[in-house]
Assembly symmetry: C2
Homo-oligomer: 656 residues x 2
């Protein structure tokens, strides 16, 4: 099926680094960028192991109590794709043709490169490869080198090259190294500060052979990278067969077919393909903001997981959703310690982290986004509702209770109700505000959920009364004159941003204006109040007014913004507008419209494009055992077919 095939013709920016990201291969554990077999200056090869990071002390210009202490950086481990070649003594080649074909249906990548020596000898480098989904420590390659127009001696070395390794040096704990160099001992590689180890087993090839014109050298290679020193013994073909089978099953339970725009059809499949590839599977890793496709955001996990990605997994791959939530359970002790350090009860999850410790070095747009607590609780709640897996929730009820305890302590009662001050909402162009609507709404939901759960489990019922009461009395600001919901206590008193005199090249604003200038204006980086409207019921009139007020103030400088506005536009019946937002989201990375896909995919936006189709165009909701849909299809899309899994049963839905 053509719509499962992605080639270079499908992508807007064909730079080396962009190709590396878009065609990257991953299996939730291991990720490999699709770098060139013969490296050039622009080439940035990358091999990542989910949750494998190095730590370094954060240096502050001015430090203060309770600041995050250490950076965590996902380590770029090996270059598994490059080859050293010599043709009749020449080692300089010109790339004269390149074809890259991603078969998303099978999870296989096919590449062909035609190289030429200075004296006109041409050869083809053919590569079939995949990051194995059956054995997640394996990256597999099948290579063929063919002499196209010459006979001569081909000398080749193909091995996994460490990106940055200190050989044989003893570990000296006194030296805090800020690099991500690894210590090698035999087949074991260890980070210097975080003391994490991996073991490798690499097929290496070193050969010198005479080829006649038209002849080839062929070989397969398996690269094993594992946390443990034992390795799969499956062959290339066995792994490949399993790969095809796994992807067939994936699409069976997850595919969305849309009729009317083949580009968007391809875009949404591309997005789901990457979501499936980068999600952690082991309960000890999660979903990095850039997946396993690049080093952007240092491989950190954010609220993106719960609010943008999890719905896709909950509705189509509930086992993966469960792994992602299990990761949060695994870092609960760190969240409890963090709340304590900041002087609050319960647990406060880190805004950005790998190992569970806060690693945001700018707390106003980091730690202050305490809504992450409620986002995580929301993820558990949605998981329970859709999958019906109450056992999992009951086993992990402590997480829900601890997040609720945090809210009860962080907020306070005033004559206006239960207020929550000094937080940063999703919109990072305002910071440290009081009563951010999204935060209060989510905290309310968290408190209600915890109270209901406590009563159901007959545990912590005394506390549950307080949680319920705080939720019941949650304060929400409303502007009587404009009849709109206040984003926070001060937002409507701010000076309007001068959009007319802001030239295009000054976006994103955060790169061109000081936070003091941005924060004091009515300008949004991304959906905030409108995100709450995507999640919670609200009257159409209210949503309409809020949308009309906030959308024109939104720069969409965050890639998390458009899909939210799109879903809400669908809900409002503004299908033309919804389609525009959806289109931009669905092909954001294919077009490189954010301009930085080279750093890695925009995973949250990919999840958001799924929301645009399912929550938006199909109007899906599931409440009280009932699946509801709504035909919000824009005129450009004639029909939509998709599969979801509810309470363990697959449902096939068609919207026409």
């Amino acid at each position: 099926m053509k719509d499962f095939i992605l080639t270079l013709d499908d992508i807007g920016n064909k730079s080396v680094q962009n190709i590396e990201t878009l065609f990257a291969q991953a299996n939730g554990t291991l990720g490999v960028r699709a770098s060139l077999p013969i490296r050039t200056g622009e080439s940035t090869p990358g091999t990542f192991l989910n949750a494998f990071y190095e730590s370094h002390d954060i240096v502050y210009g001015e430090n203060a109590y309770g600041y995050a202490k250490q950076h965590q950086t996902m380590v770029n481990l090996f270059d598994l794709r490059s080859i050293e070649l010599m043709i009749d003594g020449k080692s300089e080649f010109l790339l004269s043709d390149q074809s890259v074909v991603l078969d998303m249906e099978k999870g296989l990548l096919f590449e062909s490169y035609i190289y030429e020596t200075g004296d006109g000898k041409k050869f083809e480098y053919l590569l079939e490869s995949f990051a194995s989904h059956s054995e997640r420590s394996v990256y597999a390659q099948k290579i063929q080198i063919k002499a196209l127009n010459f006979s001569g001696v081909v000398k080749l070395v193909k091995k996994g090259r460490p990106v940055s390794v200190k050989k044989g040096e003893a570990f000296d704990p006194r030296i805090k190294n800020s690099s991500t160099e690894l210590i090698q001992e035999g087949n074991k590689y260890t980070t210097q500060n975080s003391r994490l180890s991996i073991y490798v087993k690499f097929d290496s090839l070193s050969e010198e052979r005479r080829l006649n014109e038209g002849e080839s050298i062929s070989f397969t290679q398996l690269y094993h990278i594992s946390r443990e020193n034992h390795f799969s013994s499956l062959s290339y073909d066995e792994l490949k067969n399993k790969q095809v089978e796994i992807f067939a099953n994936f699409w069976k339970s997850s595919d969305i077919e849309i009729e009317g725009n083949t580009r968007l059809q391809k875009g949404i499949r591309f997005n789901m393909y990457h979501l499936f590839n980068s999600a952690g599977r082991d309960g000890a890793s999660n979903f990095s903001a850039k997946g396993l496709t690049g080093e952007g955001y240092e491989g950190h996990y954010f609220w993106d997981t719960e609010m943008y990605l999890l719905p896709f997994f909950i509705y189509t791959q509930p086992e993966i959703a469960k792994s992602l939530l299990s990761y949060r359970v695994s870092i609960l002790p760190k969240a409890q310690a963090r709340a304590k350090e900041l002087g609050f009860q319960g647990a406060l999850f880190a805004w950005r982290t790998i190992n569970g410790e806060e690693t945001s070095a700018y707390y106003p747009a980091g730690t202050a986004q305490v809504h992450i607590n409620a986002d995580i609780a929301y993820g558990f709640e949605l998981f329970e509702k859709v999958t019906g897996d109450t056992d999992f929730i009951e086993e992990n009820s402590t997480l829900i209770f601890e997040t609720a305890r945090f809210w009860l302590d962080y907020g306070f009662y005033s004559k206006r109700g239960f207020e929550i001050h000094e937080v940063t909402g999703p919109d990072e162009y305002t910071a440290l505000v009081n009563n951010n609507y999204y935060t209060n709404k989510m905290a309310q939901n968290n408190l209600f959920y915890a109270a209901r759960l406590a009563n159901r489990l007959k545990s912590n019922e005394d506390e549950a009364k307080y949680w319920f009461n705080a939720a019941e009395n949650m304060y929400f600001g409303f502007d009587q004159e404009l009849q709109i919901i206040q984003q926070d206590d001060s937002f409507l008193t701010k000076e309007p941003w001068d959009f007319v005199n802001t030239p295009k090249e000054k976006y994103p604003l955060l790169l061109h204006y000081h936070p003091m200038k941005i924060y004091k204006h009515q300008v949004l980086k991304q959906a905030d109040t409108i995100l709450a409207h995507m999640l919670f019921d609200e009257s159409q009139e209210q949503v309409n007014r809020d949308f009309a007020f906030y959308e024109p103030l939104t720069t969409h400088d965050s890639s998390l913004s458009r899909t939210v506005y799109g879903v809400v536009a669908s809900k409002l019946g503004r299908s033309e507008l919804a389609y525009r937002f959806f289109k931009e989201a669905a092909i954001m990375d294919l077009e490189d419209s954010q301009g930085n896909a080279s750093h890695g995919i925009h995973a949250a936006n990919m999840g958001g494009s799924w929301l645009g189709l399912i929550y938006g165009f199909a109007g899906l909701s599931y409440e009280n055992g009932e699946i509801k849909t709504n035909n919000n299809l824009p005129k450009e899309i004639k029909s939509m077919k998709f599969t979801i899994t509810i309470q363990g049963e697959k449902k096939h839905i068609i919207i026409e």
Copy 2:
């Protein structure tokens, strides 16, 4: 006069480092800590040249547009006080007696140290020293070493020892060194990054001599440290005579005599002595937060100068006041560049700086304290009013206009009036607030002053209308229910701080709580609204209500707090309370009640103690050519005599 003599008996904390600070000698250009002649582990010798700094890049955990780029650090240059001694081959000595006598009347320090070798040989080290106020590049010492109970060979070396010097190494601009090592070439020393140079001429002594019991070695030494390579040729005695004369004149125009408490009398003189010693005199330097007595706050200049120190200088040493204001004129181009960088018109002075560039690495409690602009303008206005030196103001009117332009652009009109958002007021336990009362009040004053000046000079009259209008329409928040002035838009909506459950060891709060916890509570580090009440007329009832509300919420964790509450308490006729605040301020460093006098004097508090006496107890004000006083003397103080200079004329004032 006994009250001009300070000895070790007068100070509360006799640690080596505390003595070094309190008995430090300085002349506005050069500062020398009173370190031990024979160094011990605790000894931290220090020689500082005002405005002589090294710069280093600021490293941020997470950087953003417009952040301050470089640290500036006052360099600790030389150890001018230590001596290398050998008595009959022994170089280890026990300090068995020490006497330190500061004659503040003459600006001379007398020290005596009795040292003893392991085998009982005692000698006395007698030192008379001063930082010359006639030749500001000179530190002068007269030394006598006396064999008390033995005859033997004394070997001594006495020279100025560089604290941190790289000898002979070429300057490599690629290396950004974070130390403050100097590059030495002959008698020239240069900082590595900021490329500032000094030249030195040191009298050195190296001698070996046999002393009989009771005999002495005596010598004098002059240390010259200068920005230029030529040096004064005055002798020790000539310099000493001038020193005594200069101090006599200083006290003649500045002394305050209080009857009733000799400790406070000494305290206030001690404070004025240090103020006189650490104020920059050359128009290119200012007054560091810790004076020239220690490395605290890296030698930076803050708003402390204008709001806490300048009144003392304006009323008693107007030439020094003029130098300090000239420094602000000298950095105006940097302030203009900073405003532009942040996207605003006019000039924005750096919150903390030496060379004029912003060096605050935490903008919410740094750059966001934009009130510094109005503080500086206020200093110019007070200077003009009291000295009558309109020429100086008219020459430098650009500074007043540029600060006004900043306010007009930073603020905006709403239906409530002219508002100023996203600022931090003096109280650093709230940050990034809207309509901070102190800031708006000061900005209003700045705008009015600029408008009046423009009209008087018949220049920028068109703009002056806008300045006047913004000032006229300045918004001030008022709480109808409590009938108090709001510190800012959100302060009264915050949760009260739980003072009852905050143990003493948790103060200062900033060392024990995260900013998010502090900022979201009603708790003050220092006077804020009440500081505005110290400066501007307001009804007694209003001040009373505001005082009653804000004072109990104030931790006084800042040393700038108590004096302000003290002055306002005086104004309210609450002389007992005023006396308590004054007492704490007057002897803060003598008692080491902040616990960190070892890092340097609390200069702003010293200036504040003068305000407590003159603005507070004497109720001094000068408006429309009229000196007004008010007898607010507390019962503990029977009378107060002081001298001020108004419009060039000395006025002797007695309050009884």
